[in-house]
Symmetry: C2
Subunit: 149 residues, 2 copies
């Protein structure tokens, strides 16, 4: 790597490694076969009561049908349940089950551990620098290019 574009490759690699290792870890602790979209959905559902497929679709940046399919799948796997919406007879709510919540907890714990490990590698001060620099980079992104999650 000649140096030019190295940051791009590092970002891509870091992201990919992050995702792959997280999913390997989740399989190890009883949650096999999950993928990034599941993770983003869990995050959203863990912060929103009474979410609907359409809410989730907007958050994930996909169509409502794709979101519904994802929810179907998570339902089948036991991570979510659907129920009657309290205020809209057309809609159905999507809620995490205990299994879904356990999964979210595992992700949170995983990330706490990874950050500790990274801080030990480069020092807490440098990790703060990384965080701030990434924040600046993302904030500088052209409008409309921010992923919704």
């Amino acid at each position: 790597m000649s140096g030019r574009g190295e940051l791009a490759v590092l970002l891509a690699t870091a992201y990919r490694v992050t995702v792959d290792d997280l999913h390997r870890h989740l399989a190890d602790v009883g949650h096999p076969g999950l993928r990034p979209a599941h993770g983003f959905a869990f995050w959203y559902l863990s912060h929103h009561d009474d979410a609907t497929s359409v809410d989730l679709a907007a958050h994930l940046g996909v169509t409502k049908q794709a979101a519904a399919q994802l929810v179907d799948e998570l339902d089948r796997l036991g991570y979510v349940t659907r129920g009657v919406h309290p205020r809209d007879r057309r809609a159905r709510t999507v809620r995490l089950t205990a299994k879904g919540r356990h999964c979210v907890e595992q992700v949170v714990a995983y990330w706490a551990d990874r950050e500790r490990r990274w801080a030990k590698l480069v020092g807490p001060s440098d990790l703060r620098t990384v965080r701030n620099a990434l924040r600046a980079y993302v904030a500088d992104a052209p409008t409309g290019l921010k992923p919704r999650w």
Copy 2:
């Protein structure tokens, strides 16, 4: 964002923003409809003469058939040509055309510009810190989890 897992989201967002903006830029300069796999393929082809579909497949981490399909597509779009392999009658070489090389140049220029811009946002010293921290993070990844590109 409560702070826990923030780095994960920042990495994911930075990566996604990077890829999206690069592809928007490439469309602007005459290369519409490209996707990340194309970029990785271009990078490989620009560093390897006489590459074959199987070489590319290994590099991209996909099957030889998927790589061949990608090459078909790039051939159709005018980014690569195929030829006789100098040493193996079974194989065919894949080479970048002038259009392909132009695209690679645009990517390199794009990244030079983005890095300059990022350095201006956070300071060159902090950007160095980011680079070193990402290198450390990636080097610390569990074996077998390094993406091939």
